[in-house]
C-alpha cells in the first residue's frame, strides 16, 4: 500500500442511550505524525479514541487501518493492528509488579520468564530515560510512575499507533518535557501518536496536526504550523467568546473564613496540603487556580470536614454571633449543627453531590432530611424546592420524579447548585462548576455565583479556565502541589502571571532535588 494513512475513521457514530457521544466523525491519522485531538471536556474525544482501542464498538461507520477496513471488537484486536492506548484512568493490576503488568500485554509470550521480562522492561525504561523498578508493586507507586508503566506497556508491545489520553494532566512540567522527548523519538521511528488534550500550548508544542472536536462532531483538522491559540479556541468553542462576566465591587467585606497552616497527607503518604494559609471574605469571590490535582479537592474537602488534617486551623466567623469557631476535625454534620452555613458543590456531582439513582425531590433532601423530630421524612418541602429550582434555573427534565442520572450534565449541575444555594449559605464552595456545561448553562452558574456574592456570601470558586477566573473572581489564589504559590488581585493580574504561579513551586522543587 502506498498510502501514508495509518488509520482512517469514516462516519463513526456512537450513542450511549439517548446521548450521542460521536456523530458522523471522519478523521485520518498519518504515519509518523503526532496528532492532537483537541476539545473541551465531554466533547467525545475519549469515546472516539476508545473505539480505535477496542473499548467501545461504534454503532455506525467503519475504521480503516492501512487502507483496509478492519473490525476492532476488543483491545486485543487493536493490538493486532498495533494500536496501543494509555488511558487517563490507569488500567493496572494493583497487586502485580510493574513488569507483570507490562508482560500482560504480550499475548504471544508463552514462556513467561520473569527475569527476562524484568530485564527487557529495565532496558526499555533506560533507553528512554524513565526511572522505573520493574519489581515494584503498583500499589506502592506514585501517579507518574504508574503512567510510566502504562507507556512502557505500549512500547513493550511495539505498537505503531499510540493513543495517549490526557497524559500530561498528572505530570510536572519536567515530566511532560520528558514525555514529549519520548514521543518525538517515537515519531522519528515512523510511529503515529495521538494525544488527547485540552491544553492549547501543549498542542502547539508537540503536534504536527490538530483535530478539533466539538459536542461529538469533528470540526476540522488543521496543520499546527497554521494554527494559533485563538484560532484553535474558536474552533473548540464554536464562536469567538468574549466572556463579559459581570463583576461587582465587594461591599462590606469582612473575613468569614480564615485558614491557618493547613497540612494533610493522602493515604499513599503524599503531602496533599502543605501549610495553606488564606482568608475568604464575605461578599467576594475567591478563585482557586492550579493544574488538576494540585490539592484543590483536598482543600475544599478539608474545609467541608471530609479530609483528615495533620495540622492547621479553619476558623469560621459567625456573622450572627460574631463568634469564631474552629471547624477542624469536625464531621460535616457537626459543622452544620454548630450553625455554620457552609455549602459545597463538589467536583464529582453524581458520585458525591447527588445520588444518580434518586429522583430530583429525594436529592433535594440530602442536606435537609434530618429537619424536624418526626421519624419520617418530609417530602413536601423538598418537592416544592425541586419545582422552584426547575422553574427558576430552567432545568430541562420531565419532572421532579426523574432520576438525576437521566439528566444532562448542565441540568445535573443546576440541580446541585440550586440545592446548595437554597440553604442560604454564608460560605459557598464550588469546584469546577461549569465543567462539561454548555455556554448558556455556564453563564447561569456565573450569574448565580455573582448573586450570592452580592448577598454577602463568601464564595470560593475552584476553576480550570483562567479566562473565567480572571473575569469572575475578586481575588485568585494559586495552588501548586498542595502549596499556595500566590494570591493575586483578580482585576489586575494577567493570565501569564497566574500561569507562571501555577508552575512556580515545581521549579523550586526541581532545583532542590537536583542539588541532592
Amino acid at each position: 500500500m502506498s498510502t501514508n494513512t495509518a488509520i482512517e475513521l469514516r462516519h463513526i457514530t456512537k450513542r450511549f442511550g439517548s446521548v450521542v457521544a460521536n456523530n458522523d466523525v471522519s478523521l485520518e491519522i498519518r504515519k509518523g505524525e503526532i496528532l492532537s485531538v483537541l476539545g473541551e471536556n465531554g466533547c467525545g474525544k475519549t469515546t472516539l479514541m476508545n473505539m480505535i482501542a477496542g473499548i467501545y464498538y461504534p454503532d455506525e461507520g467503519e475504521i480503516l487501518v492501512d487502507g483496509k477496513p478492519v473490525i476492532i471488537r476488543s483491545p486485543k484486536d487493536a493490538f493486532k493492528y498495533k494500536i496501543g492506548m494509555v488511558h487517563q484512568h490507569f488500567k493496572l493490576v494493583d497487586i502485580f509488579t510493574a513488569a507483570e503488568n507490562i508482560v500482560l500485554v504480550d499475548t504471544e509470550d508463552k514462556h513467561y520468564k520473569m527475569n527476562a521480562v524484568n530485564a527487557k522492561v529495565k532496558e526499555i525504561a533506560d533507553r528512554y530515560g524513565f526511572n522505573l523498578d520493574p519489581k515494584k508493586k503498583i500499589y506502592e507507586m506514585s501517579v507518574s510512575e504508574k503512567q510510566t508503566v502504562e507507556i512502557i506497556k505500549v512500547l513493550y508491545k511495539n505498537s505503531d499507533i499510540l493513543i495517549l489520553d490526557e497524559p500530561t494532566a498528572v505530570l510536572t512540567p519536567q515530566e511532560t518535557e520528558m514525555l514529549f522527548k519520548v514521543l518525538r523519538k517515537m515519531r522519528e521511528d515512523g510511529k503515529s501518536i495521538i494525544i488527547i488534550t485540552h491544553k492549547l500550548h501543549e498542542v502547539l508544542e508537540i503536534s504536527d496536526r490538530v483535530a478539533v472536536l466539538r459536542k461529538g462532531e469533528h470540526i476540522a483538522t488543521v496543520d499546527t504550523k497554521d494554527a494559533t491559540e485563538s484560532s484553535l479556541t474558536e474552533m473548540m468553542v464554536g464562536q469567538k467568546v468574549s466572556l463579559n462576566i459581570n463583576r461587582s465591587e465587594p461591599v462590606d467585606s469582612v473575613t468569614r473564613l480564615k485558614v491557618i497552616g493547613l497540612s494533610a497527607t493522602s493515604k499513599d503518604g503524599v503531602k496533599v496540603l502543605d501549610d495553606i494559609n488564606f482568608e475568604a471574605k464575605s461578599g467576594e469571590i475567591l478563585g482557586i487556580a492550579g493544574i488538576a490535582g494540585s490539592g484543590q479537592r483536598e482543600l475544599l474537602e478539608a474545609i467541608a470536614g471530609l479530609q483528615p488534617l495533620e495540622s492547621g486551623e479553619i476558623d469560621y466567623n459567625d456573622p450572627k454571633t460574631g463568634d469564631i469557631v474552629n471547624l477542624r476535625d469536625k464531621t460535616p454534620l457537626q459543622i452544620r449543627n454548630m450553625g455554620v452555613r457552609l455549602s459545597f458543590v463538589p467536583e464529582d456531582r453524581l458520585g458525591m453531590g447527588l445520588v444518580g439513582n434518586m429522583n430530583i425531590t429525594d436529592n433535594m433532601m440530602l442536606r435537609s432530611y434530618r429537619k424536624g423530630k418526626s421519624i419520617f421524612v418530609d417530602r413536601e418541602r423538598p418537592k416544592n424546592l425541586a419545582e422552584e429550582i426547575i422553574e427558576e434555573l430552567q432545568v430541562n427534565t420531565p419532572g421532579v420524579t426523574t432520576p438525576v442520572r437521566r439528566l444532562s450534565g448542565g441540568n445535573v449541575q443546576k440541580v446541585l447548585v440550586g440545592r446548595e444555594i437554597s440553604a442560604a449559605p454564608r460560605v459557598l464552595m464550588v469546584a469546577y462548576p461549569v465543567r462539561g456545561l454548555d455556554i448558556n448553562s455556564s453563564y447561569t452558574i456565573y450569574n448565580l455565583l455573582n448573586e450570592q456574592k452580592e448577598k454577602g456570601v463568601s464564595v470560593i470558586f475552584v476553576g480550570e479556565d483562567l479566562d473565567v477566573l480572571l473575569e469572575l473572581c475578586d481575588r485568585i489564589l494559586v495552588i501548586n502541589s498542595g502549596r499556595i504559590t500566590g494570591i493575586c488581585d483578580g482585576r489586575t493580574v494577567t493570565k501569564e502571571e497566574v500561569g507562571l504561579l501555577m508552575t512556580k513551586s515545581e521549579k523550586a522543587e526541581k532545583e532542590v532535588s537536583d542539588g541532592q
Binding site: 473499548i55 476488543s74 499475548t107
Partner: protein, 320 residues
C-alpha cells in the same frame, strides 16, 4: 496406632475440601464467587456414580484404570456443565453471582438426591463395586490408609499444578489479572469472557472430583451423597482460610480435617472420652477459624492476602 489413624483420616477427609477449594480458588481468581460449589460437587459425584453404575456389567472385563478414568471424566463433565450454567448466567447474562450460586446449589443438590436415590433403588448401589479400585494401592489396608486411593494423589497433583499455573505461567498471570481487574485485562487484550468461562468450568470440574472422592474413597457408602453439601460449604470456607492460595490450601485442608474428626478420635488418642455433645463444637471450629482468618486479613490489610479485587463484580465493557 490410633494417632496415625487419626492423622491419615484427617488427611484424607481434607482431600475433599482440598479438591472443592482448589476448584473454587480458580473460579474466585477470575472474580467469580461461586456459591454453587456444594451443588457442583454433588452433581460431580452423581455423574461419576452413574458412569460407574453403567460399567457395572463390564467390571470384570474392563481394566481398573479405565473404570476410574471414565468415572472421573463423567464427574468432570457433569460438574463442568454446572459451571457452564453458572457462567452463562453470571458472565453472559450479567446476573448477580450470589443469587445464581445459591440457586445452583439448590438445583445441584436436588438433582443429586433425585438421581442417587434412583441408583440406590435400582440395584442396591451397585456402583460401590468400584470402591477397591478407587482405593488402590491401599485398598487392602485395614486402617485409614485405605482412604488414600488414587484420587488422593490426583488431588495433590492438581493443587500443585494449579498453584504452578497461577503463579508461574503467563496463563496464570492473565487469569489473576482478570479477577483483579477485568477492565485492565480487557484493555491489554486478554479475552476476559473466555478466561472466565474456562476457569469456572475447569474449577467446577475439579470441585466435582471432591464429591466423587468422598463417596468412592472416604465414605464408601450409599448414603454419602447426602453429606456432600455440608462438605461443599466447608470447601468455600477453606478458600478464605487459605487466602486464595492452592498450596496453603493443602495445609489448610489437613487442619480442617483434623478439626472435623477430632472428637471421634479424642478418646483413643488422649485416653479421655469427650462427651458426644462436643462433636458439633469441634465441627464448627473450621468455620470459626475461617472467620478469624477473614477478620485478621481485613485488619492487617496486606494487599497480597485480600480476596481478588474483582470478586463478585460483574464486568460489562461498555459500562459508563
Amino acid at each position: 496406632m490410633s494417632i496415625v489413624n487419626y492423622l491419615l483420616s484427617a488427611f484424607s477427609i481434607g482431600i475433599i475440601f482440598l479438591l472443592g477449594a482448589t476448584g473454587e480458588i480458580i473460579t474466585e481468581k477470575v472474580g467469580h464467587l461461586n456459591l454453587g460449589i456444594p451443588g457442583v460437587m454433588s452433581v460431580g459425584a452423581t455423574g461419576g456414580c452413574i458412569a460407574l453404575q453403567a460399567m457395572y456389567k463390564y467390571r470384570d472385563v474392563l481394566p481398573g484404570w479405565l473404570i476410574v478414568l471414565v468415572a472421573l471424566l463423567a464427574c468432570f463433565i457433569c460438574a463442568g456443565l454446572m459451571g457452564l450454567l453458572y457462567c452463562f448466567i453470571t458472565v453472559s447474562l450479567h446476573s448477580n453471582q450470589n443469587v445464581t450460586g445459591l440457586a445452583l446449589t439448590t438445583f445441584g443438590v436436588g438433582i443429586t438426591k433425585y438421581e442417587m436415590s434412583k441408583l440406590t433403588r435400582i440395584g442396591a448401589h451397585e456402583y460401590l463395586y468400584a470402591l477397591p479400585i478407587f482405593r488402590q494401592p491401599f485398598s487392602d489396608s485395614t486402617n485409614a490408609l485405605k482412604y488414600c486411593g488414587v484420587m488422593t494423589f490426583i488431588a495433590l497433583f492438581i493443587a500443585i499444578a494449579v498453584s504452578f499455573v497461577l503463579y508461574r505461567t503467563k496463563v496464570g498471570l492473565n487469569l489473576r489479572a482478570v479477577g483483579e481487574s477485568a477492565a485492565t485485562a480487557d484493555a491489554v487484550g486478554i479475552n476476559v469472557t473466555a478466561y472466565k468461562y474456562v476457569a469456572t468450568i475447569i474449577g467446577s470440574g475439579i470441585a466435582g472430583f471432591g464429591g466423587l472422592y468422598y463417596i468412592m474413597d472416604y465414605a464408601g457408602s450409599q448414603e454419602a451423597y447426602l453429606s456432600i453439601e455440608a462438605l461443599g460449604w466447608l470447601s468455600v470456607a477453606l478458600v478464605i482460610f487459605s487466602l486464595w492460595k492452592p498450596l496453603v490450601c493443602v495445609f489448610g485442608s489437613f487442619v480442617f480435617g483434623l478439626l472435623y474428626i477430632a472428637n471421634a478420635y479424642a478418646a483413643s488418642i488422649l485416653g479421655i472420652t469427650l462427651p458426644m455433645k462436643l462433636t458439633p463444637i469441634m465441627k464448627l471450629l473450621p468455620y470459626v477459624a475461617t472467620v478469624i482468618i477473614l477478620v485478621l486479613t481485613s485488619i492487617r490489610k496486606r494487599r497480597e492476602n485480600q480476596p481478588p479485587a474483582g470478586l463478585g463484580i460483574t464486568y460489562f465493557r461498555e459500562e459508563r
